[in-house]
């Protein structure tokens, strides 16, 4: 079945360092969504990408959708302790309205 993988599974950075997580789908995606889950919290929607090669920015966060629409990345510039959490990508499954989540990347930021 369809799979969405993320790497790395875990990353520990010093505050101020950059961070990138990569998302890879076994199938072409019509769109991709990114979510953030703070420790002890629930996933919260960050952004959605739809077009091939699309790049979107939210302050220090840069999201990219691959040309083939099978991969995506989230890059955080100059991490802060508030960036701590697990970042998930998600894409539509084979059934309408079904969203498949990636395995997530847990980001730890040391002050």
């Amino acid at each position: 079945g369809q799979q969405v993988m993320q790497i790395p599974q875990y990353q520990h950075v010093q505050e101020g360092e950059d961070f990138t997580t990569y998302c890879n789908s076994s199938t072409t995606l019509s769109n991709i969504q990114w979510y953030k889950q703070r420790p002890g919290g629930h996933p919260v929607f960050l952004i959605q990408l739809v077009k091939s090669g699309e790049v979107k920015k939210q302050k220090r966060l840069t999201f990219q959708f691959g040309e083939a629409k099978k991969n995506s990345s989230l890059h955080i510039t100059a991490t802060q302790t508030t960036d701590v959490g697990t970042y998930f990508c998600a894409g539509p499954g084979d059934a309408t309205n079904k969203l498949i989540f990636g395995t997530g990347t847990l980001l730890a930021v040391q002050p």
Binding site: Q6, P43, F45, Q48, F88, P92, N97, K98
Partner: protein
């Protein structure tokens, strides 16, 4: 703002018990979902529903059933709880469009002993 409410934050049940996890959303969303979250495995879809009385199996439906009698409520049922069902359960809802983002509840951490 969309609110998705899960009835319990923490739940402890014994093996073999029947367990009900309740989820209510207040935004008239057509779609509702149940995921379980386990370390290293991300969020895995158990069941989803796109309309009242409609349900579709997700990726890991075994050992679970669901009920959607009203649009705002989606229940997850563990017919006979087992220890491998110890997990964080997350309910989510979204409007009808397949590209709409999900709104999650706070989750229920279920422990089966």
């Amino acid at each position: 703002d969309v609110k998705v409410t899960q009835s319990s934050r923490y739940l402890v049940k014994r093996t073999g018990e029947k367990v009900f996890l309740e989820c209510v959303q207040d935004m008239d969303h057509e779609n509702m979902f149940w995921y379980r979250q386990d370390p290293g495995l991300g969020l895995r879809l158990i069941y989803f529903s796109y309309d009242v009385k409609m349900k579709e199996k997700g990726d890991i439906p075994e050992g679970y059933s669901v009920s959607r009698e009203k649009k705002e409520r989606f229940s997850l049922i563990l017919e006979s709880a087992s220890t491998n069902q110890t997990s964080m359960y997350l309910c989510a809802s979204s409007p009808a469009s397949s590209v709409s983002p999900l709104h999650f509840g706070n989750g229920t951490r279920l422990t089966v002993t």
